[in-house]
Symmetry: C2
Subunit: 132 residues, 2 copies
DNA sequence: TGAGGGCTCATACTAAAGTACCAAAATCGG
DNA sequence: CCGATTTTGGTACTTTAGTATGAGCCCTCA
C-alpha cells in the first residue's frame, strides 16, 4: 500500500517535469500542484501515525471482558456503577431487585479482584473495559 | 503567526521560480524542495488541528477546583477516592484519622453535589478536575 | 487581636455496600 | 431434551460510607 503511494508520487513527479518541458504548463502551476499534493500527503501520514499514540484510552476491549468471565449482565451493572449509581438505582433502571444487583456486584468484585466498587471502576479502566 | 507562515511560503514559491530561471538549479531539485516543505507544513497543520479533538479529557482545571470551594486537602482526598481507596486506607496514607477523612468526604460530596463517592468521581471527571 | 477558614478528631447515628449461602427460573449449546 | 451457565431473588449478617454536630488548633488577614 505504501509502495503504491510512493510509486504514484514518483509518477506525479516525472509527469510534472514532462508537463513543464512540453511547455503547455507554467512553472507556478506545477509547483502549486506538487505543493498541494504533498501537503495532503503530510496530513494523511500524520493522521495515520498520530492515531495510536493519541488514543490510548480508546475502544473498549470486549475480549478482556470475556477473559475475565464477566457476563453480559454483570458488565451492564459495571457500567452503571461507573456512572455513580447506587445498587438501588441500578436495580430500578434494570427492573430487577436490589438483591440481584448485589449478587452481580459481588461477582464483579471477585472477577475484577477489587474490594470496593470504586476500586472496580479503577481496575476496569486500567483493563480498558470501561471508557469514562 | 499564520500570515507570517503564508508569506514565507509565498516567498519560497517565488524564490523557487527565480532559482529555476537563473538556471543553476534543476527542476527536480526545486520540485523536491517544494514537496518536502509542504509535506512538513501538512504535518504541522494537522498536528495543530488534531490536538484539541484528540485531547478532550486533557489538563486538570484547577480553577474549577477553586470555584467549587474545594480545599487542597479535600482535593487530595478526592484523588485518593478516585483511585479506589477506602476511607481507612486514605486515612493511613495521609496519616490522619478516619473521622477526618469522613469529614472531608462529606464536604466534597456537598461541594460536588453528589450522593455517593462514585458519583463524585463521575462529576469530578465531567468538571475536568480529575484525570483518570 | 479577633474573625474566619481550613484541618483535625470524636461520638452517635442512619444508610448503603458487601459477604455468605441458598435456590428457583431462564437461557443456551450440544 | 439435558446439563451448564446465567439471571434472578431471598435472608441474615458484617463492614463501609455518609450525616450531624460539636469542638480544639493553627494560620491569615483585616
Amino acid at each position: 500500500m505504501f509502495s503504491a503511494l510512493i510509486i504514484a508520487l514518483l509518477a506525479l513527479f516525472k509527469l510534472s517535469s514532462y508537463a513543464y518541458f512540453s511547455g503547455d504548463t507554467s512553472i507556478e502551476i506545477i509547483l502549486s500542484g506538487i505543493a498541494l499534493v504533498f501537503f495532503f500527503v503530510g496530513l494523511y501520514i500524520n493522521r495515520k501515525t498520530i492515531r495510536p499514540s493519541a488514543d490510548p484510552s480508546g475502544p473498549i476491549d470486549l475480549k478482556k471482558v470475556e477473559q475475565l468471565g464477566i457476563s453480559k449482565r454483570e458488565y451492564e451493572v459495571l457500567v452503571h456503577i461507573s456512572k455513580g449509581l447506587s445498587n438501588k438505582e441500578i436495580a430500578n433502571t434494570l427492573f430487577v431487585s436490589e438483591s440481584t444487583i448485589k449478587t452481580h456486584v459481588s461477582n464483579l468484585l471477585l472477577k475484577l479482584d477489587a474490594k470496593r466498587r470504586t476500586q472496580a471502576i479503577q481496575k476496569a479502566i486500567d483493563l480498558q473495559i470501561l471508557s469514562i
